[in-house]
C-alpha cells in the first residue's frame, strides 16, 4: 500500500512540476468564471424559475470548458512515460501493473477535483452579494458536485485509455477529445432521431451528460446515471489495464 501512495503522490505532484497545471487552472478558472457570469446575467434579465446553480451548470459555455479540460489533464499520463522511456524504470521496479494504471487515473481525478474547488466560492459569493440563495436546497449542490465527480471519474478514465494507446501526447489528446465528444453527441441523438423507436431514444438518453446535469443540478439524484458512470469508469480502466500490459514494452 505504501507503494500505491508513493505512485499516487508522484502522479499528483507531476502536474505541478510542469507549467501545464497552472495553464489548465487559469484557463479553467477563466472559463468557469465566465460561464458563471453568463449564468448570473441570465437571471438578471427578469424573473426566472431556475437557481444560479442550475443556470451555471447548464450553459453551453460550461460544457465547452468542461469537456476541453479532460484531454489536457490526461494526455500526459501514459504517453509521456512511453516517450521518455521512463516506463522501463517504472515497470522494472517491484510495482504491479494495476497499481500503475489506477494511480495514474486517480492522479488525474485528484487534479480534476482540485480544479473544481474554487468554484464553490462562486456560489458563496453570489449568496453573500445578492442575499439570494444559490439553490433551493442542499441537494442541488450535492447533486451537481456528485455528478461532477462521477463524470470526472468517467472522462478521466477515457482520457487515460486514450493516453495508453500512444506515445504522442497530441494524438492522445485528440483521441480522448473525439471519444468524449462522441459520447456527448450520442446523448443528443435522442433529440434528432425522431423517427426511431422510443426504446432506441431512451437508450441514447442514458448517454446524455447534459440531461444528467439538468436533473442533478436541481437536486434530483437519480441512481441510473450513478450506475452508468461507475460501470463505464470500471470498463475503461479494465481496457486501459489490458492495453497497458501489452503496450508497456512496445512503446
Amino acid at each position: 500500500m505504501t507503494k500505491f501512495f508513493t505512485l499516487l503522490g508522484r502522479e499528483v505532484k507531476s502536474f505541478f512540476y510542469s507549467p501545464i497545471a497552472y495553464v489548465v487552472m487559469c484557463f479553467f478558472l477563466f472559463l468557469t468564471g465566465f460561464a458563471f457570469y453568463i449564468g448570473v446575467s441570465l437571471l438578471n434579465r427578469g424573473p426566472s424559475d431556475v437557481t444560479v446553480v442550475q443556470a451555471f451548470f447548464n450553459t453551453i459555455l460550461f460544457w465547452i470548458a468542461y469537456l476541453l479540460i479532460f484531454p489536457l489533464i490526461t494526455m500526459r499520463s501514459f504517453s509521456e512515460e512511453f516517450k521518455l522511456g521512463t516506463i522501463e524504470g517504472l515497470m522494472t521496479a517491484p510495482v504491479r501493473d494495476w497499481q500503475v494504471v489506477v494511480t495514474k487515473w486517480l492522479g488525474c481525478l485528484i487534479f480534476y477535483i482540485i480544479l473544481w474547488i474554487p468554484t464553490g466560492i462562486y456560489f458563496w459569493v453570489f449568496t453573500w452579494a445578492t442575499k439570494v440563495e444559490s439553490a433551493h436546497a442542499e441537494g442541488a449542490y450535492l447533486g451537481s458536485y456528485l455528478l461532477l465527480l462521477l463524470m470526472g471519474m468517467f472522462y478521466t478514465s477515457v482520457g487515460c485509455f486514450a493516453s495508453v494507446l500512444t506515445k504522442n501526447q497530441i494524438v492522445a489528446a485528440i483521441i480522448s477529445l473525439v471519444m468524449i465528444l462522441v459520447l456527448l453527441f450520442a446523448g443528443l441523438l435522442q433529440y434528432v432521431m425522431l423517427d426511431v423507436s422510443g426504446t432506441m431514444r431512451d437508450v441514447f438518453g442514458y448517454f446524455s451528460a447534459i440531461e444528467h446535469m439538468e436533473g442533478f443540478s436541481k437536486g434530483i439524484i437519480d441512481s441510473r446515471p450513478i450506475v452508468w458512470y461507475l460501470t463505464m469508469t470500471t470498463l475503461m480502466l479494465v481496457l486501459t489495464y489490458q492495453v497497458f500490459q501489452t503496450r508497456k514494452w512496445k512503446a
Binding site: T6, R10, G89, A93, W249
Partner: protein, 309 residues
C-alpha cells in the same frame, strides 16, 4: 544469481535471441558483449521482467522472472539503456521516490539515499532538477537509482555510453568497487572497459552465445590473432615469401620504412612462431631491429567471433 535456460525471444518475423543459456554466479562481474542488435538489451529487458520471453526460463536470485516477477525485481537493480529519468524531479526527491517504490522505508530510506548520493558523487547536485544535469550526472543518478534498495544483483545496460573519457573512468571505478559486494551484469561496446572490470565475458551475436569465459582465456584462445611484428632489413630477399614458408603462418603483410621493412605475421590460433621467425632471420642473415609478439586484444576476439561471415 542469474539463471537463463533456453531463452528465446521472437518479434514479428525476427528472432532477437535464440535459445540462449547461461548462468551468472554470486559475486561475479560479467561483461555482456555483442554488436548492435545482437540481443543484449532484449536479454536484459527480459531479466528485468520488463518484457516477456517467447519461450524458455529465466530466474534471478532463485525467483522466476515470469512467475515471481515482483520478488525477482526486488532483488534486482536495473539501469536501462540511455537511463530514462523523470526530468522534472530533483535528484534527492527522485531517489527517495525510487527507494520507496522498491520497498525501502523510514529511517533506512533516508540512510540509503544519503549513502548512494555519497557513493555516486551526487552530493553537490542533490537539489538540482534532473533535466538540467549533464549526461554524466544523469548516468550517476541512474546508477544511484539502481543501487538505492541494496539489490544483490545489478544489471547495467551500457552504463558508460555517451560519457567523456574522464567520466567513463570514474564510472568504471565505481563499478569495480560495487563488484566487491554485488553481482553485476553489464553490457558495453567499450572493450577496454570489460578488460578492466569484468571477471567473465559473454559474447553474444545474432541472438546466440558465441563464447563465455574470462577475458584472459578468450585472449589465450586467440593468441595468434595478434601476430608477430618483425622489423628487419632483408637485403635482396623477398621477406614476405620467405616468411610464408614457415609452417603455421596464415598470412604476412609488409610495410616499407626506407630500407627497413615491417612485417606482420599472422599465425594460426595457439601457435607461437617467434622462435621460427628468429631462426629464419638468422639463417638468411637479415638485420633485425625488432621482433615482438603483438598480444591479441579482446577487440580481436570480439571481431573474430562476431564479424559477418
Amino acid at each position: 544469481m542469474i539463471k537463463v535456460e533456453n531463452l528465446t525471444k521472437k518479434y514479428a518475423g525476427f528472432t532477437a535471441i535464440n535459445n540462449i543459456t547461461f548462468e551468472v554466479g554470486k559475486g561475479e562481474i560479467v561483461g555482456f558483449l555483442g554488436p548492435n542488435g545482437a540481443g543484449k538489451s532484449t536479454t536484459m529487458r527480459i531479466l528485468s521482467s520488463f518484457m516477456p520471453a517467447t519461450s524458455g526460463r529465466a530466474s534471478i536470485a532463485g525467483y522466476d522472472v515470469f512467475e515471481k516477477s515482483l520478488e525477482a525485481r526486488t532483488h534486482l537493480g536495473y539501469m536501462p539503456e540511455n537511463v530514462p529519468l523523470y526530468t522534472d524531479m530533483r535528484v534527492s526527491e527522485y531517489l527517495v521516490y525510487r527507494g520507496e517504490l522498491k520497498g525501502v522505508t523510514g529511517r533506512r530510506l533516508k540512510e540509503r539515499v544519503g549513502d548512494v548520493k555519497e557513493l555516486c558523487g551526487l552530493k553537490d547536485v542533490e537539489n538540482r532538477i534532473i533535466g538540467t544535469l549533464s549526461k554524466g550526472y544523469r548516468q550517476r543518478v541512474g546508477l544511484a537509482d539502481a543501487l538505492v534498495h541494496e539489490p544483490d544483483l545489478l544489471i547495467l545496460d551500457e552504463p558508460t555510453i555517451g560519457l567523456d573519457p574522464n567520466q567513463i573512468r570514474s564510472v568504471r571505478e565505481l563499478i569495480k568497487n560495487l563488484g566487491k559486494h554485488h553481482t553485476i551484469l553489464l553490457s558495453t561496446h567499450i572493450l577496454p572497459e570489460v578488460e578492466a572490470t569484468c571477471s567473465r565475458v559473454i559474447i553474444i551475436n545474432r541472438g546466440r552465445i558465441e563464447a563465455s569465459d574470462t577475458p584472459d582465456n578468450l585472449r589465450r584462445q586467440l593468441r595468434g590473432a595478434g601476430g608477430i611484428r618483425l622489423e628487419a632489413n632483408t637485403g635482396k630477399d623477398d621477406g614476405v615469401a620467405e616468411l610464408q614458408k614457415i609452417t603455421g603462418v596464415k598470412d604476412v603483410s609488409a610495410e616499407e620504412e626506407g630500407e627497413w621493412k615491417v612485417f606482420l605475421v599472422r599465425a594460426d590460433a595457439n601457435a607461437d612462431l617467434r622462435e621460427e621467425v628468429f631462426r629464419l632471420a638468422a639463417d638468411r642473415n637479415w638485420r633485425v631491429r625488432e621482433l615482438s609478439q603483438r598480444g591479441a586484444t579482446l577487440e580481436d576476439v570480439f571481431v573474430e567471433m562476431t564479424h559477418a561471415e
